[in-house]
Amino acid sequence: MSTDKTTATKAVTETQQIARAQQGDEAAFEALFSAHKRRVYSLCLRMTGDTAEAEDLTQEAFLQLFRKISTFRGESAFTTWLHRLVVNVVLMRLRKKGLQQVSLDEVDSSQEEPVKRDYGDDDRRLIGSIDRIILDRAIAALPHGYRTVFVLHDMEGYEHNEIAQIMDCSTGNSKSQLHKARLKLREHLRRDQRKRSGEAPREPKRESER
């Protein structure tokens, strides 16, 4: 079956499942959960970096979804609707915990020290494919603001204008946070690579030494 047909079939099936869930059909709720649970949980996990928190947020997001499903009229794609809801649930939780900045613009300068470019450092690139576990750990170790923008943009495919709207910041700030997040990740991965190869961590060169 071609991709188009598969997508169309899925859309038809999902439309029917939504209609049944709107009537309170237990099997339809379970089918919708099964279809979206991995992406929702992974999004929660990567935005929070905490498995217990991610489980709780997944539960909360699906409950909100099922409570509101009778209001879904199909004007937007169901997946888009669901993921926007999940992001809102996660951000609300982070805000309540005081971890997520209300506005990135307000705290941009208070983020962790930016990654300095180490001109003249060794030119070895990250070798081979990046280890998934280490990458996941590096993402979890990012400061919250960097992490949120990185997950939304590079992992979930949001555009900067959408992130700016969600995070109440400027698109320029979103772009800046994303770039810093990527540099942070690279720093983390290179540090880990050096550690695994038994090499001592390097101190960045000073400006005067370049």
């Binding site: 949980y41 996990l45 489980e55 001109y119 690139r125 990250l126 990046i130 690279r186 290179r190």
Partner: protein
């Protein structure tokens, strides 16, 4: 060592700094040929660019994690406690409110006929045995039936299903080609099932499973047509 950094010249550093300033925009897809040109000349900047692209690719392709089974168990318990999960009505009832945009007589009539036919077939297995080998149910909404026992139901169901199918066919051009193809395939498959189970029912009038399949096939056809009509009505 590359000339840029080995020499440590101000000009070389300026090029790298300019690269740094424009790297983010380049990664965002902006047209910055100078970034790529510099990355090809300067190994340090080239490595940085390669690393960042690799990180972006790897992050986008990280596998999705499944939540533990207790998450669904908790959700299910909450849905039950809040009364969101409800006892189900028969499948054809679910489609009734979704057909409001059609003339009411068609879907309501189809469903009513379907219910009566199903009841007749399931409760009175011998009642539809007709004298001779007559067609007593429609094959696909196009066949005229002339069964002796259920002529009214048969003709009415045929007419209503044909009406629904005709409305759908007249509007299916509004559907995306892939979706249209999917519905056509589904309807063709259901017509084939109806035809096949009809033959079984005629050969083995006492075969309750065949009767059940036949009713289910009709029910599925009504559901698929209703779903298709809902799509074209958007």
């Amino acid at each position: 060592m590359p000339a840029n950094h080995e020499s440590g010249s101000d000009a070389a550093k300026a090029l790298c700094r300019q690269f740094d300033q424009e790297l983010s925009a380049y990664l965002e897809g902006e047209d910055k040929p100078e970034v790529l040109a510099h990355a090809q000349q300067c190994p340090y900047c080239g490595v940085l660019l390669t690393d960042l692209e690799q990180i972006r690719f790897a992050s986008h392709h990280l596998p999705l994690e499944p939540p533990p089974a207790r998450v669904w168990a908790n959700i299910h318990a909450s849905l039950e406690a809040e009364g969101i999960i409800r006892e189900q009505v028969p499948a054809w009832h679910r489609w009734l409110p979704r057909l409001g945009f059609l003339p009411h007589s068609a879907p309501v009539g189809a469903l009513a006929c379907l219910a009566l036919v199903g009841l007749t077939l399931l409760v009175s297995p011998r009642s539809y045995e007709t004298p001779g080998d007559v067609e007593w149910l429609p094959a696909s909404g196009k066949t005229t039936a002339a069964g002796a026992f259920v002529p009214v139901l048969d003709d009415e169901l045929t007419r209503i299903l044909a009406e629904m199918e005709s409305v759908y066919r007249s509007r299916e051009s509004f559907l995306e080609p892939a979706l249209k193809a999917t519905y056509r395939k589904s309807l063709a498959s259901l017509d084939a099932s109806i035809q096949e189970t009809r033959v079984h029912c005629q050969r083995e009038p006492g075969n309750t499973l065949a009767r059940e399949y036949l009713v289910n096939a009709y029910q599925s056809k009504v559901e698929v047509l209703a779903s298709a009509l809902e799509f074209v009505a958007r």
